[in-house]
């Protein structure tokens, strides 16, 4: 993976963030036990974790870290860091502790995690670094006062483009000038996303051009949709639910099936599922009226019922991580397009012979055809018809 391969090994290779680097080095040099920890914050993909890793490498420090994929209860945190605190570093000049994505510490599973981190900061013999996307997250209130806040700014388009260029040159990839610029622009300062996009485009090719960018467009919209679902299902406000889909660049009809698919993923109580589906069914009724009577004015009811109608069907917000999924219906329709085309073609041939519509064949004949299949001459007959 490019993101791993081209991770900066040293702060020399680091992309921009001069201000943050200076602040960080300053904090580290003046750190003594009992002093504040460093809290690096900024949008995803700006280099928070990389900075600590590269720094540890430069200074020959042993990096002890914990990230969001670990459970971070008090017990776990003490086990890792307190033990590490008591031993001296082997082969290295010192140690540095990193608790990645502290704002991702979940309330329920990671019991006492936040308090454990505060205790760690107070007692540690080695400097502690925390990272977070949103420093003003409620959960971090207790931690903030024990931290030196260091912001990592979003990277500029130029920064990102430069790094992409470097990767392309090292990988021997030819590129149209515009492409890297476009990838950089859409990354919105997230270098990791940009590098991932580049890798997606490159996969198996030695040359990338502007029209390859379309592949990314779909992924982008899908990501937006997942974000929108998170907001839609978790909010309790009418406006919040209505606005949730405003950034999604998909047809309302498509968004509809995304919501439909995920109602039973989010809601657990039958009453809520029933109510949510009734709202969707009502929204659908408005869609039918819009189409048949050309009453575009009704579109607002379709939108509101589909978003707020579904969102407010819940009694309480589910404080759980919900895995949202891609609409199975859309997937089915897109993956079986050829198959269904062939079937339709066959049914049309049959409809000429049987003098009735394909709809009637499906309803009146197909159930009996299941039985006819026991007769080999029927199978021959079908095969012959298909080959015609």
């Amino acid at each position: 993976m490019f993101v791993v391969k081209y991770r900066p090994k040293s702060l020399k290779d680091f992309v921009n963030q001069k201000e943050a680097l200076a602040k960080f080095i300053n904090w580290y040099n003046s750190w003594r036990p009992g002093e504040k920890a460093a809290l690096l914050y900024g949008k995803p993909g700006v280099g928070k974790t990389c900075l600590v890793e590269a720094f540890a490498n430069d200074k020959n420090l042993q990096l002890i870290q914990m990230n969001a994929s670990d459970t971070r209860s008090r017990k776990q945190i003490e086990e890792i860091f307190v033990n590490a605190s008591q031993s001296l570093p082997i082969f290295k000049k010192g140690k540095i502790f990193l608790v990645d994505e502290v704002d991702g510490i979940a309330g329920r599973e990671d019991v006492g995690g936040i308090q454990a981190i505060v205790d760690l900061i107070k007692k540690t013999r080695y400097p502690v670094v925390l990272t977070a996307n949103d420093v003003y997250d409620q959960k971090l209130r207790a931690i903030r006062e024990y931290c030196e806040l260091i912001e990592l700014k979003p990277l500029t388009v130029w920064d990102v483009e430069k790094k992409l260029k470097e990767i392309c040159e090292k990988e021997g990839i030819e590129y149209e000038k515009e492409v890297l610029n476009m990838i950089a622009k859409r990354s919105d300062g997230d270098l990791r996303a940009a590098i991932n996009d580049l890798e997606t485009l490159v996969s198996g090719r030695k040359k990338i051009s502007l029209k390859d960018l379309e592949i990314l467009g779909y992924r982008e919209r899908e990501r937006e949709m997942f974000e929108a679902l998170k907001i839609l299902f978790k909010t309790t406000s009418l406006m919040g639910a209505k606005m949730s889909i405003s950034n999604v660049d998909l047809e309302p009809d498509t968004i509809f099936w995304w919501i439909e698919e995920n109602i039973p993923n989010e809601y657990e109580k039958p009453e809520e599922i029933a109510e949510a589906f009734e709202r969707l069914a009502k929204a659908d009724l408005f869609r039918a009226r819009i189409i048949h009577r050309n009453y575009w004015k009704l579109l607002r009811y379709f939108n509101d019922l589909m978003t707020a109608g579904v969102s407010l069907a819940k009694k309480d917000v589910y404080r759980k991580f919900t895995k949202y999924s891609f609409p199975s219906k859309l997937r089915y329709l897109s993956t079986t397009k050829d198959e269904r085309g062939e079937e339709k073609e066959f049914l049309l041939k049959l409809s000429k012979i049987l003098n009735c519509s394909t709809k009637k064949i499906r309803k009146e004949f197909n159930p009996y055809f299941q039985i006819f299949q026991k007769d080999s001459s029927f199978l021959e007959y079908i095969q012959k018809l298909k080959n015609q």
Binding site: F256, E260, P264, P270, E271, I273, A274, A276, F277, E278, L280, A281, D284, L285, R287, A288, R289, I291, H292, S328, K329, Y332, L333, E343, L348, S351, K352, I353, L354, N355, C356, S357, T358, K359, K360, R362, K363, E364, F365, N366, P367, Y368, Q370, I371, F372, K374, D375, S377, F378, E380, Y381
Partner: protein, 321 residues
Amino acid sequence: MVGEFEVWAEKYRPKKFDEIINQEHAVERVKAFAQAKNIPHMLFAGPPGTGKTTLAIVLARELYGDGWKQNVLQLNASDERGIDVIRGQVKEFARTVAIGDVPFKLIILDEADAMTSDAQQALRRMMEMYANVTRFILICNYSSKIIEPIQSRCAVFRFKALEDVHVRDFVERIVKGEKLKISEDGINAVVRIAEGDLRRAANVLQASSILKEKITEDVVYEAASLAKPQEVKKMLEMALSGKFLEARKILEEMILKKGLSGQDIISEIYKQLVGLELDDKDKVHLIEKCGEIDFRISEGANELIQIESFLATLMLYGKKK
């Protein structure tokens, strides 16, 4: 079994006027039109499997002889994508004159009641525009679903529902033609299951003959139950026991994979509702809901989402038990 396979429903479709069962009033008049080689636009309305399409084809044969297919355009409203496609086909077809001594060509439009009223208006204009070179035969189950201006331009023939004795005639024709070994009870069973629909009678009989050489009452019922879709029942059971995801999956398979129509599925749901183990009061609520989604679908709403909302509601009543 040796030889070419044939679907009996088609093989035993009447080829002549006097083979058509129990629709004498319509047959007599259409026959007279054929002899005069002059027909009006016509509308055939009646239950499925009573001979509407058959009469249209017999008439075409009578008019044009063996080369009838060249002079006839057979369309199915439910298979043509919209009125514009139909218009295009009619226009193309009407460009050339009929071969032979009949001065017009014939357009048979089946399932005309599947058309929206807007599409029917367009159809009406077509009927006028090409009146000098073509004749239309519109076929439908319910003449009330055909707009008034079309009805007034057509000679309307209502096909009668068939009684058991008529179905029996047809069944015996096939039994004789195929030299089947079937018991008297077996014939009765076929007649009962057909419910006046000759197409269904032929299908049940053919399926029975494939299951067993000697056809008894039991064999016929076995064939009928094998052909009867079990999915709707299973889907309702799943929803009632709170397994919404499973119920939804079955529905998706029926509509997306098997291509069944939502209206047919709802009809089956409606039939089964009464038999569910539920409080009668709850059943009334569910009937109301069923009617509501049925109506919505007839107004163009999406079948999947509407039936899903019914299943989600059903889940609530299952929980009460």
